[in-house]
Amino acid sequence: MFDLANPKKFMDFSARLLPWISGAAVILLAIGLYLALFVAPPDYQQGESVRIMYVHVPAATLSMGVYAFMALASALALIMKHPLADMAAKAAAPIGAGFTFLALVTGSLWGKPMWGAWWAWDARLTSELVLLFLYFGYMAIWQAMEDPIKAARAAAVVALVGVVNLPVIKFSVNWWNTLHQPASLLRFEGPAIHPSMLWPLLVMFAAYGLFFAAVLILRMRMEILLRRARSLQLSQARARAS
């Protein structure tokens, strides 16, 4: 695994891996969507609108998971100075923000029939919103610093501070929700989930995970190629200058 920290090895390895992961992601997504939209039964309470769950729940889970991944990569980058760890964290951020946004939009769509409003200050949705801001902050710090080495380390600090705070934020938002709202509000998670709904959900989880891996690898390859192109430009400029 540590051999992969070498960009060249990573390029070779990822080039071979990428088609398989992307292919699997597309196939699983197709199957998952088919199961979710046509095979899975409608909910006895929520009716057809429950199908949003198959898009929403994996997105919400991945939005947190990707942030954890980003923080882990940042820690590796800070402690072990892996050349690829920074790139992995940087590449993951917009994907994570995408999942978060998707979770917010689908949550809002789901909320409309349930709450009669596009937005309710539900604990989970509110946490997602704060998470989206954390992603924005992380991406903004990459934008703001010109020196890539400095930016990488600053962003790593942001990610780590964020991940330490994330559980506190989640807890506090839950707390706030119970303080200010009666518990009678309909929650997202039902009681036990029936197997006929579980399977499509699991397939969707796998599809989302593979999609993340594929886009991550793609973005990391792009970053490496960009850096290569830049150093080529530099050496050409040097050659012309001397």
Partner: protein, 219 residues
């Protein structure tokens, strides 16, 4: 000799002296706080019952925003005139420096806000039994705001338009403090423990993260 405390005292005295001579910072934050809070009734209407209901939330949000207002200067002046380089090279560890600076900042900026808060409570028809709780919750919670803000200030020191970025980075992290603080002021007593816990955790995490950020920004 306990050099650790000695250095904190040295740093604290210097920052307090600078704040006293330069003036401005703390008073400006108080003025901003007052104007911000008086704007709210123009938006929501002057009904005493409504304002009373909103008062704690408005004051707490006002304190969060006012605290962050001048935080971007926390390390900026020392960064610009080269003092930060020399502090870095001194026996003073950066984490201790951050703690001392946050303490000075809290005394000069947050404390005046806490003292003004009850007066604003009058304007907003704050229920009588909440005055003490409000001040107490602010006293326990504002150190957390300063410490979280220090991390943002350390990250953005030396950046153009650093203050906007600072707000983006720090405001989401203020959510727990705001929730526990406002709830504590409402009279939910257990929130004082949570608020205190957040402040205490940040006394440790804040300086470590700020020191790491300062170190990389010196380079």
């Amino acid at each position: 000799m306990n050099s650790w405390t000695q250095m904190i005292v040295t740093q604290l005295r210097r920052d307090l002296k600078l704040a006293a001579r330069l003036g401005g910072g703390g008073l400006l934050a108080v003025a901003f706080f007052v104007v911000l809070v008086t704007l709210v009734p123009f938006g929501v209407g002057p009904e005493p019952a409504l304002l009373s209901k909103l008062s704690i939330g408005i004051i707490w949000v006002g304190v969060v925003l006012s605290t962050l207002l001048s935080l971007d200067r926390l390390f900026q002046a020392d960064y610009e005139d080269g003092s930060l380089d020399l502090m870095f090279l001194s026996p003073l560890s950066l984490g201790v420096l951050v703690l001392a600076k946050c303490a000075a900042y809290w005394i000069t900026t947050a404390l005046p806000l806490v003292l003004v808060a009850p007066l604003l409570g009058v304007l907003l028809n704050l229920p009588a039994e909440n005055y003490g709780l409000l001040v107490l919750s602010l006293l326990v919670g504002t150190p957390a705001l300063s410490l979280v803000g220090a991390v943002g200030a350390a990250l953005t020191v030396g950046l153009r338009r650093g203050s906007l970025l600072l707000s983006l980075l720090v405001l989401p992290l203020c959510v727990p403090t705001l929730i526990f603080g406002a709830a504590a002021a409402e009279g939910h007593m257990s929130n004082f423990y949570l608020l205190g816990a957040v402040s205490l955790v940040l006394v440790v995490v804040g300086p470590i993260a700020s020191a790491a950020a300062l170190k990389l920004n010196l380079g």
